[in-house]
């Protein structure tokens, strides 16, 4: 990358390193605090726990990052989509379907949910309102159809998806790393990723250069729904059951991961890899707080605090950069 014909990038490069450094820095600080206060935090066993937990939140958050970068804020229906997928997968397995067709059916189901939401946003719906409503519809539907009961797969045919550990690392984690890398490559190296970024940066300017913001909205909500479906399948396979409350709080954790990762809430800026690090941070924070015996309320408090601190810090950073 040091070819002589390379165009110099001016002062932009060093400054653009601030956000990634801040994300990694937050993770390091968390690690040090954990290491000093809690001996069992930095152990191989606990490390596996963290990355397994981080994987599910991470898959949901990384795929939702596209929505944020495209300027549609967040999806508030991912936890319901994931729960619906887990229940659907468990139900399909319990009906004796082969694993591949159960997976396919769940993906189709989630695609419908995602494309419908994207379509509603493309037609001018507010993303927050649309996904909040869809989330309620999905939750209600799932509660109604399952009668609020746990749906068991009744078979261990799919358990390997959720519990096996190729090379000592859980499948969820492999999937998380793979999805984070794929999404990062898609965002930075493909035409689609560029179009997502440009729509988020300025949807009118994007429309003027021939990019269709509505189509981008459909795609990003679709991708996010697929991510949630995958998280649902992993969970249903791991526990051989699907339950409504599997993903309680996943929305806020995923949003926290995106914001800790420094994506711009108004769109046009963000990174899948930073969101991935943000997911590890949130999972690590949750894990540390559980090890310290913090109650549920205290844990929610600290996750909320992490969002507040990161949003304020990045806003200040960006404003200073703009003035500079």
């Amino acid at each position: 990358m040091t070819g002589s014909g390379r165009v110099p990038t001016g002062g932009a490069r060093p400054r653009s390193m601030i956000v990634p450094l801040a994300v990694v820095g937050a993770l390091v600080v968390l690690g040090v605090i954990g290491w000093v206060t809690t001996p069992e935090f930095i152990t191989y066993r606990n490390f596996l726990n963290i990355i397994r937990a981080a994987a599910l939140i991470g898959i949901i958050a990384v795929t939702m990052t596209l929505i944020t970068i495209a300027g549609s804020f967040f999806s508030l229906s991912v936890s319901q989509t994931a729960a619906m997928s887990a229940i659907g997968f468990a139900a399909f397995m319990s009906w004796g379907w082969p694993v591949w067709s159960a997976v396919l059916a769940v993906i189709l189901l989630a695609s419908v949910v995602g494309v419908l939401q994207g379509g509603a946003v493309a037609l001018g719906g507010n993303p927050i309102v649309v996904t909040l409503a869809v989330g309620a519809v999905l939750f209600g539907l799932a509660a109604w159809l399952t009668d609020n009961k746990t749906v068991r797969t009744g078979t261990y045919a799919a358990e390997w998806i959720g519990t096996s550990r190729p090379l000592g690392i859980p499948t969820q984690t492999w999937a998380f790393v793979l999805i984070a890398l794929l999404t990062a490559v898609m965002l930075t190296r493909t035409r689609f990723g560029r179009e997502v970024t440009l729509v988020g940066a300025n949807r009118w300017a994007a429309a003027t250069v021939g990019i269709r913001p509505g189509r981008i909205a459909v795609y990003v909500f679709w991708v996010s729904a697929l991510g949630a479906a995958l998280a649902g399948i992993f969970t249903a396979a791991q526990f051989s059951q699907g339950r409504l409350d599997h993903f309680d709080g996943a929305d806020i954790d995923a949003i926290a991961a995106i914001l800790v990762g420094g994506a711009a809430i108004q769109g046009g800026e963000g990174s899948a890899l930073r969101t991935a690090v943000g997911a590890v941070f949130i999972a690590g924070l949750q894990n540390l707080m559980v090890l310290r015996g913090f109650s549920y309320g205290v844990r929610v408090f600290f996750v909320g605090l992490a969002i507040l601190v990161s949003v304020s810090a990045y806003t200040l950073l960006r404003n200073r950069r703009r003035l500079a």
């Binding site: 165009v7 110099p8 932009a12 035409r191 009118w204 300017a205 046009g268």
Partner: protein, 502 residues
């Protein structure tokens, strides 16, 4: 009615922005109960003067006297207390509040009783003064027409007891019937003994309304003239003066090629009569017209940003699907809007990404972006448009206005469209960058592109066009070869076409 002593007098006012002298020793005055028109080309210094009176800018030197006493405005509220008020071009009403609420918005003298009934009652006399007594003061502002909102704005200023009212191009965005309404309010305000400064581009209004007129040119003022003592032609001459030849490139001797763009009987709801145009490869067509004239709207419609009521657009012999920017781009039409910040540029993205944004298909293979192709394309555009290549990686928002405009226009040359449409090519751009943009437009036309631009600056239109079309209030007034028109004729056509002058 207009007794001798001036109510407001400004002497030797100067104001510079960096190296640009916006106002140079300007004198200006308004008498009691007088309508004083203020006219001049774009960039002549009219809006700078208005902003000084509004307390938004402090003059570098010079003095202001109000009713014989020296005054100094160092903020909007101070000039308001002194009784000077500007009817904003960009309306400052709150659409979701009631009419009465808006009239008394921010009025600190009103006390605590803001019950809707009380405010409505208090608002009635002010509404009557602007001819809106038939409106319910409790109705919401968002239901009103643009002209009615403007009059509410005036009522608001009357409620503050403004003695000098400044109308800054009040009719620019209005239809004919609404213009009459605003005009009659101006006249009735004058009868009440208020003084009015009326800034306008429309010279017919000057003769209809004003007692005297002051002409600004290149930041300097002419002494005021009584409108009874001057002809339209003389006024136009005062506005234009000598022109800057060096600003514009040579037109070159190239013969225009085949027809690349044909617009026939194009009609949108912003246009009052159908528009037809023909543009050849290598040709620059200038659409001259003030805001609301239809010149910019024609470009928007051709680019697929407006709904066509009738008519068709053909590029290089093939019909373009209407109402779709993406379809227009695929047919080879590039469009740079007049509102750069809104839809012309990605301020928070790097310059490279801006430059390749309309041509992503050309810098990618099977959906994969090639950084090399991106760099090559943006490098080429930067060289043609003299954009600093060291800054290709910086955010577009960090560039100066002139360089941002070069990015906004230049990005279209990446995909080599057949036709480039540019609305206001040099808005908010300093003189140096203007000259560069003109020469770039000429050179890309020389490469065989057809260029159509819309502008309210007649010098600009005459300076770089091969063909000139004049627009006035939604209608195409004329299409002439550059040789067959001059600044006098063109200025008349875009300000006052229906007189029998020459």
């Amino acid at each position: 009615m207009t007794s001798g002593a001036p109510l407001l007098e400004m002497r030797s006012i100067s104001k510079s922005f960096g190296s640009i002298r916006a106002l140079d020793q300007v004198d200006f005055e308004v008498r009691h109960g007088e309508v004083m028109a203020l006219v001049g080309e774009n960039g002549a210094g009219k809006s700078t003067l208005v902003k000084i009176l509004a307390g938004m800018y402090a003059p570098d030197s010079g003095e202001i006297e109000l009713a014989g006493r020296a005054v100094e405005f160092s903020g909007a509220s101070q000039s308001e207390h002194a009784g000077i008020a500007v009817v904003q071009q960009e309306l400052s009403l709150v659409p979701t509040l009631s009419i009465a609420d808006n009239i008394f918005l921010g009025d600190t003298k009103r006390g605590w009783n803001t019950a809707p009934r009380v405010l409505a009652l208090a608002a009635m006399p002010f509404l009557a003064q602007v001819g809106l007594e038939n409106l319910d003061p409790r109705g919401r502002v968002e239901r009103l027409t643009v002209a009615e909102r403007q009059l509410i704005e005036v009522a608001r200023l009357l409620a503050r007891d403004a003695r000098v009212l400044i109308f800054d191009e009040p009719t620019a965005a209005l239809a004919d019937r609404e213009i009459e309404r605003v005009k009659s309010v101006v006249q009735s305000l004058q009868y009440q003994g208020r003084s009015i400064i009326y800034v306008t581009h429309r010279l017919d209004e000057v003769f209809d309304l004003a007692d005297r007129v002051t002409v600004f040119r290149d930041g300097r003022s002419n002494p005021p003239v009584s409108t009874g003592d001057i002809t339209l032609d003389a006024l136009i001459s005062m506005m234009l003066g000598g022109s800057l030849a060096a600003l514009f490139p040579d037109r070159g001797g190239g013969r225009p090629g085949e027809v690349v763009l044909e617009v026939s009987d194009l009609l949108t709801d912003r246009l009052s009569t159908p528009v037809s145009l023909e543009v050849r490869a290598g040709e620059i067509v200038g659409l001259a017209g003030q805001l609301g004239s239809g010149a910019g709207d024609t470009l928007r419609a051709v680019a697929g940003h407006e709904t066509l009521l009738s008519g068709s657009v053909t590029v290089a012999g093939r019909a373009v699907r209407a109402n779709s920017p993406a379809a227009a781009i695929r047919s080879g039409v590039g469009y740079s809007s007049s509102d750069r910040k809104r839809d012309g540029i990605f301020l928070q993205r790097p310059v490279v990404e801006n430059l390749t944004s309309p041509s992503l298909g050309l810098v990618s293979t099977a959906g994969w972006l090639s950084r090399r192709a991106e760099r090559r394309m943006s490098d080429r555009i930067a060289r043609v448009f003299t954009i600093d290549r060291a800054r290709l990686g910086s955010m577009a928002g960090a560039l100066s206005g002139g360089n941002q405009q070069k990015v906004a226009v230049g990005k279209w040359t990446g995909s080599r469209p057949r036709v480039l449409l540019v609305d206001e090519p040099t808005r908010g751009v300093d003189v140096g960058a203007r000259a560069e943009i003109y020469s770039h437009l000429r050179s890309i036309a020389g490469d065989g592109m057809g260029i159509v631009f819309a502008s309210s600056d007649t010098q600009e239109v005459l300076g770089i066009s091969d063909t000139v079309a004049a627009f006035f209030r939604g209608a195409q007034v004329s299409v002439r070869a550059r040789e067959d028109t001059d600044s006098r004729l063109l200025t008349r056509e875009i300000t006052h076409p229906r007189t029998d002058g020459s």
